[in-house]
Symmetry: none
Subunit: 217 residues, 4 copies
Amino acid sequence: MSNHSHHELASPLTRSARPAALNPRKSPRQSRATSTVAIILEGAARVLEESGLRAYSTNAVANRAGVSVGSVYQYFPAKEAITRALIQRETGALLAEVKSLAAVNSPRPALEAVIDACVAHQLRRPALARILDLEEARLPLGDDVADLGRALATALHQILLRGGLRDEDATLVVAADLLAIIKGIVDAAGQRGETDAAALSRRVRRAVFGFLPAEFY
Amino acid sequence: MSNHSHHELASPLTRSARPAALNPRKSPRQSRATSTVAIILEGAARVLEESGLRAYSTNAVANRAGVSVGSVYQYFPAKEAITRALIQRETGALLAEVKSLAAVNSPRPALEAVIDACVAHQLRRPALARILDLEEARLPLGDDVADLGRALATALHQILLRGGLRDEDATLVVAADLLAIIKGIVDAAGQRGETDAAALSRRVRRAVFGFLPAEFY
Amino acid sequence: MSNHSHHELASPLTRSARPAALNPRKSPRQSRATSTVAIILEGAARVLEESGLRAYSTNAVANRAGVSVGSVYQYFPAKEAITRALIQRETGALLAEVKSLAAVNSPRPALEAVIDACVAHQLRRPALARILDLEEARLPLGDDVADLGRALATALHQILLRGGLRDEDATLVVAADLLAIIKGIVDAAGQRGETDAAALSRRVRRAVFGFLPAEFY
Amino acid sequence: MSNHSHHELASPLTRSARPAALNPRKSPRQSRATSTVAIILEGAARVLEESGLRAYSTNAVANRAGVSVGSVYQYFPAKEAITRALIQRETGALLAEVKSLAAVNSPRPALEAVIDACVAHQLRRPALARILDLEEARLPLGDDVADLGRALATALHQILLRGGLRDEDATLVVAADLLAIIKGIVDAAGQRGETDAAALSRRVRRAVFGFLPAEFY
DNA sequence: CATGAATGAGCGTTCATTCAT
DNA sequence: CATGAATGAACGCTCATTCAT
């Protein structure tokens, strides 16, 4: 009777470039709508944190958020759109912070601040951060999400350039490697249940500055 | 509520405690059976590599392997058991290599060899390696799989101790951090499609030895 | 190994202890839902009557009821729960009647009325009644269903006591035997296709009162 | 590749009237074959007794019997054929006994002996007897099995006629009712775990002779 | 707009049956 | 003949998605 095939996304209203169907279905214009989106995202976050990916169903999210499934689909065209929005919500703050830090003058303190921000971010909601990291890799998410990663790398790249590194290509790879190092250590620590941000930061700094050439100042 | 288990062929040699249900259902007695297991695992590997986790269904695995679902369930009691066996197949060789390298005398060459092994492993089948890493984290797999990770960390730890590092507790964390650094860089590189093992190895070495204290020889 | 339960709508009113999983999944809140439950049960009844236990699959029930499988699972957590509900629907009326008859003063007319009720019940939908009897014995159904049998025996027991029988233990066995006699004759008759309730009642009465001691009045 | 549909029986070798496919596939001519059939049947009996209908699969039967599934299908064309043969094995002895008792002169002792035989039969392997009774009703078994029931009824019928009852039609129904009474009481007792054959026999006799008209001698 | 009942393709899994060895 | 690996239709059940109210 209803002839959809819910495993493939096909949206009649392609608004953005690639996986357009994952864009929010309607831009909330009323404050009520805005808060509903936030409520749903927080519901999704809690389901993931408390019950894991196995329990992460649209119905579970709706229940946890205290709304109906129908409402969820008012604001998100598909389940993956929720995941994407959640990733953006979580990474957005971190990205903004990193971007502003990248503009600061001295490269070394900037880099240290970036590290601190990453550590703080991961330790705030470690289980959620870890799962979202996994999903970011697992799902064919949109450009927006890929952009988050690229923006982080770009910010780091700028810091490196200002720190005295030269060759453009090389520094982009270096930035990517740095990011991989930071994420690797911090994720693993979060997974092991570490909570001491200062200690964790110290270890990450050691890795980062050990990796960078001596001429970085 | 799954309500019958008609296969009373519980493996007589239950080795791991908890997820015993994931142990192989029967040990193959005919020669053709032995190869069937391998064929199924390779089918699973190809589904994962070529179509990703979304397409990773038991029927897809069976089709790709050229056998029937029934045959899959002759040897694996559940889908997760296939994943587990695949992880063991893939990580097994790496672990064996690392273990033997850990026994080699000079710590620095040992560590370099470990890095080379990790890089080679990841670059052989990058997509598969990455997905299996994710699944290893995502699934409640058996002790055997957890042991793989622990064995790697232990091997690294021994190298560190022989390399002159002292405080036991600290070195365990250092080993974990090193592993996270290696995995982080190599995974990200594999995901970006890098294929130059030598260049990748060089970068990982820089990160590892930059992280280690200067007294490591 | 069934490995997710995405419906966290556990009924707030869990009434029976053990097979709680067989309790209705949700209490219908919209009027249409109430009728859906009835429609599903009648679909199940017709599948059983017309095609027997072999054809009694959840999809067959859904088709016969004119709904989707999904709808079936909105209200019943498992196939057995449908069977259980059907048994309760069918036996419920009989039990209520028997209970009220057990309260009537004169034991002999009460007993005769009970017999008539059993006969009428069995002849109304003989095939269904027979199959449900078998399933009641075959399946590990909940306390509620076991209670039905016990309630019938208890009701009979009370009639016997009021009829002048003494020894408690003995009369419980007598009640069980009477029930077995009634069920045996009536089931067999239903299976043979008998439709004459009056004639059947006469034969059952002969068996019952022939079995009871002469002092029963 | 193999185009069978294992839920419908279609046998190329129709030897007997109705569900011919359920006849033994080959009449065992060697003693080894004869004993294999017996071994398989006993395996089936034990699976049913110890693990119930849920566990009653052809593989389970083969395992319990210590033979391979292939061997089972050498002697039985389908699973139901095993069930049917088991019913015949179990009821055969009882039927033979009843038949010989029916030939004895005095009707009352003959009837008492029949009752004793039924009780003894049920108490020997109560769980098995009960399950086979259920299956006899549940499955579309062959004429042979239906004949068992008819033969029992016929034997009873002869006893009744010799006991002084007249009207032919009526006595056939009476025989059926008697059988239903006996089976009803004895089955229920077996299910409750009763083991006292003498006491059970006494109750069944009371029911039977209470049901028969006084002129039966 | 919100609700939640309804949908159905698809999943994991079973097991009666076949057939190469 | 015996074996047991292989088969695949069918089952119970899930859950992303739709739509009548």
